[in-house]
Symmetry: C2
Subunit: 348 residues, 2 copies
C-alpha cells in the first residue's frame, strides 16, 4: 500500500547515480549554509550565534509501522520531530543531514517518497538539507536525522532552568497523536483479519493528522517572544507529558504539581478516547508524539501568557525534588511516573 | 565471543537509568561545547569559525560482522571514520553525537563496550561526546554518528578544488584494511566449519589493525600545514582509491592519470595479498576502509611534499572530464571504475 507503481532497483543506479538523484532538487537558503551535500562534511557558518545540534533515530517496527505510514508522511514527520527538538531549545533550525539505511525491499521510488516528505518539511520550516549517508540494511528501514540550529546564547532555553513556583505550561493539546495510533492499529488488525475490508478512517482526520503529520510549534515560540516571555525551562513532548515533566523536574532539581482538569485535550481526542475506552489524561500523560512544547515561566508572566490562547498553564514547580504529582478533579494527588520509553523496550 | 560475562537487560534500567549510565563519565573539553548530553540539542559555540558536520551510518551485517568485530573496536572505528571525514575537509573534529538502535539481543555490557571504544577515540582525538539517541531495533545493531568540526573558511579543502596538472597524493598505504577483512572472513569460515578450531591470526597484526582499528590522518594534515602546503582538493579513502579518485575528478570537473607502481602498499599487505592470490593494486583500488587521505597539491609544492615521508605522489590531474586512467608497469592504460558501494548493494 506504500509502494509507488514504478519500481527502480537501487542497484541499477549505483552510488553516484543515487546521490545525484536524491540531491538534484536541493537548494540552500540559509546564508549560514556554506556547503551542502557532495563533500565529506557540510560547512555551516554561524558568526556570533550558538549552534544547536540534535540527532534522532527512527526505526521501522519501533517508531513507525510501514503498513499504515505513507512514506511521504514518514519523511515529513522524521524531519519535523527533529525541528521540534530545536524549538524546545528556543532556537531556529537551519540545516538537516539525513542518514538512511534501507533493505533491498525498498525501491528508488520508495526512497523518493521519503525524501519528498523531508524536503517538504524543510521547505515549510526554512531548513537546508545539507548532506547525508545512504546505505543498505539487512532488514528494515532506519532513518537518522541530524538537525543543526542556531540561537543567541541568551535566548536558549535549557531543561534545567526552572525555579520553584514557576508556572508549568503546555502548548496546543495532548493525547491526539496516541489516539491516532490506536485507530491505525485497530484498522490494521481489521485488515489483517479480512484483507477485503477497507479501512474506516472517515471522521478521524484530526487524530490521524496528529499521529501522521505533526508540526513543530515555532508559532508558539514567536508568540511568546512577541509577548516578551522567555521560558525558564523547556522541552518538547515526544514521549508523553509524564516523561517530559519528570525530565524538567529532575534537571531543574525540583518537583511539580499539575491539575488533571487543566491538561488541554481536543474534543476530537475526547471523542476517540471515549470510543476506545481510554481515560483521556492517560493518553496525554503516556501517549507521546504530540510534539507540543512543555515549558515553565515566571509567575510574573502569568498575565501575559493568559493572552496566548495556544498555551495553557497546567501547574507549578515545587521544591520536592523529582516528585511530580497530579491532582484529579475529585482532589486526589496521584504520583506521575514515566512510561513511554520503558514500555517500548519491554514490548520487544 | 563479543559478549561480556555479566548481562544486564536494558529494560531493567529504563530510559533515565540508561542515559545516566552512558553519560556518567563524559567530560567536555572543547570551549565551544556549551552544553552536552541531557537536553533536546547540544549547544556549540563557534565564534568566527565555520562549522563542519558529517553523518555516517554503520549497519550490522553490512559495515561490520559481529562474529569477529570486538564491540570496543567497533565503537572506536565508528568514531574515527567520522573524524576522518572532518580531516578530509582539513578541519578539526570537536563534538560527536551518537545514535544507537539495538535489539534486545544486546545487553548493557555490550553497549558499554561500544561506548568505551567511542570514548577512547574521543579522548585520543580531543572530541567531546555531546549527545545522542538510544532506541530499540527489531533486529541488529545500527550506529549513527554525527561529528561536528570547525575550520577557518580559508583552510577548508573541498573535493571540487583540483586544477589541471595538480599532483594527486595519497597518505600512508592502501589495501591493508581489505586484506584484514579477507583474513577475518577466512577464519570465520574455518570456525563455522569446525567450532573447535581456534582462529589463526598470529603474524597478521598489521592488516588486522588496519581493518579493526583505523586512525584518521590528522598527523599528515599537521605536516602539510607545517610545510606550508594547502591541498587544492581532498577526500578520505573509505570506499577504495578508485571510487574516491572518481569523486575528486567529477567534482573538480577534471580527469586524472595515476601510476600503478606508485600506489603505496605495505610489505605486510603484499604478503597477505600473495597468500590470498589478490593483485595488491586491486585491494588498494577497490578494497576501501583504509581511511587515508587522497588529495591534490599544486605542482609548485612538489619539492615540499617530497620531504613528507607519509605522503606519496601517485599521479596528476588532467583535463579529460571524469576519465581516470591507471598506467600499469608494462605501460598499459587502464580505465578506473568505482566498485565499492555498488558491490555492497548487489551483494544483498
Amino acid at each position: 500500500m506504500n509502494e509507488a507503481t514504478q519500481r527502480t532497483e537501487l542497484s541499477a543506479l549505483g552510488e553516484f547515480g543515487l546521490i545525484d538523484h536524491l540531491t538534484a532538487n536541493i537548494e540552500l537558503k540559509n546564508s549560514s549554509s556554506k556547503k551542502g551535500v557532495g563533500d565529506d562534511a557540510a560547512v555551516i557558518d554561524h558568526q556570533g550565534l550558538q549552534t544547536l545540534v540534535s540527532v534522532d533515530l527512527l526505526v521501522e517496527g519501533v517508531h513507525f509501522d510501514m503498513t499504515y505510514t505513507p512514506l511521504k508522511h514518514l519523511g515529513y514527520k522524521a524531519a519535523v520531530v527533529n525541528f521540534s527538538d530545536i524549538a524546545a531549545m528556543n532556537g531556529k533550525p537551519t540545516q538537516m543531514i539525513v542518514g538512511l539505511a534501507v533493505s533491498n525491499r525498498f525501491s528508488l521510488e520508495a526512497i523518493d517518497e521519503i525524501y519528498s516528505g523531508m524536503l517538504q518539511a524543510c521547505q515549510k520550516y526554512g531548513v537546508d538539507l545539507v548532506g547525508g549517508d545512504t546505505t543498505s540494511s539487512k532488514a528494515g528501514l532506519f532513518i537518522s536525522i541530524t538537525v543543526i540550529g542556531e540561537a543567541k546564547a541568551e535566548d536558549i532555553c535549557y531543561r534545567s532552568g526552572a525555579a520553584e513556583h514557576d508556572l508549568l505550561c503546555v502548548s496546543g493539546n495532548l493525547g491526539g497523536a496516541y489516539m491516532g495510533l490506536l485507530l491505525l492499529e485497530r484498522e490494521k488488525a481489521v485488515y489483517k483479519a479480512n484483507p477485503d475490508m477497507q479501512p474506516d478512517l472517515v471522521g478521524y482526520d484530526y487524530v490521524l493528522q496528529r499521529q501522521l503529520k505533526p508540526e513543530a510549534r515555532f508559532d508558539v515560540l514567536h508568540k511568546l517572544r512577541d509577548a516578551g516571555i522567555k521560558p525558564t525551562s523547556m522541552i518538547d513532548i515526544s514521549d508523553g507529558l509524564a516523561s517530559e515533566i519528570l525530565h524538567l523536574c529532575r534537571q531543574s532539581g525540583l518537583g511539580c504539581q499539575i491539575y488533571e482538569e487543566k491538561i488541554p485535550l481536543d474534543p476530537d481526542t475526547l471523542r476517540v478516547a471515549e470510543e476506545f475506552k481510554i481515560v483521556p489524561a492517560v493518553a496525554a500523560l503516556n501517549g507521546g508524539e504530540d510534539y507540543e512544547l512543555l515549558f515553565t515561566i515566571k509567575q510574573t508572566d502569568f498575565e501575559r501568557i493568559a493572552n496566548i490562547h495556544e498555551v495553557r498553564v497546567i501547574g507549578h514547580m515545587t521544591a520536592n525534588l523529582g516528585i511530580a504529582t497530579m491532582v484529579t478533579p475529585d482532589n486526589q494527588a496521584i504520583s506521575i511516573k514515566a512510561q513511554g520509553w520503558d514500555a517500548i523496550l519491554n514490548k520487544e
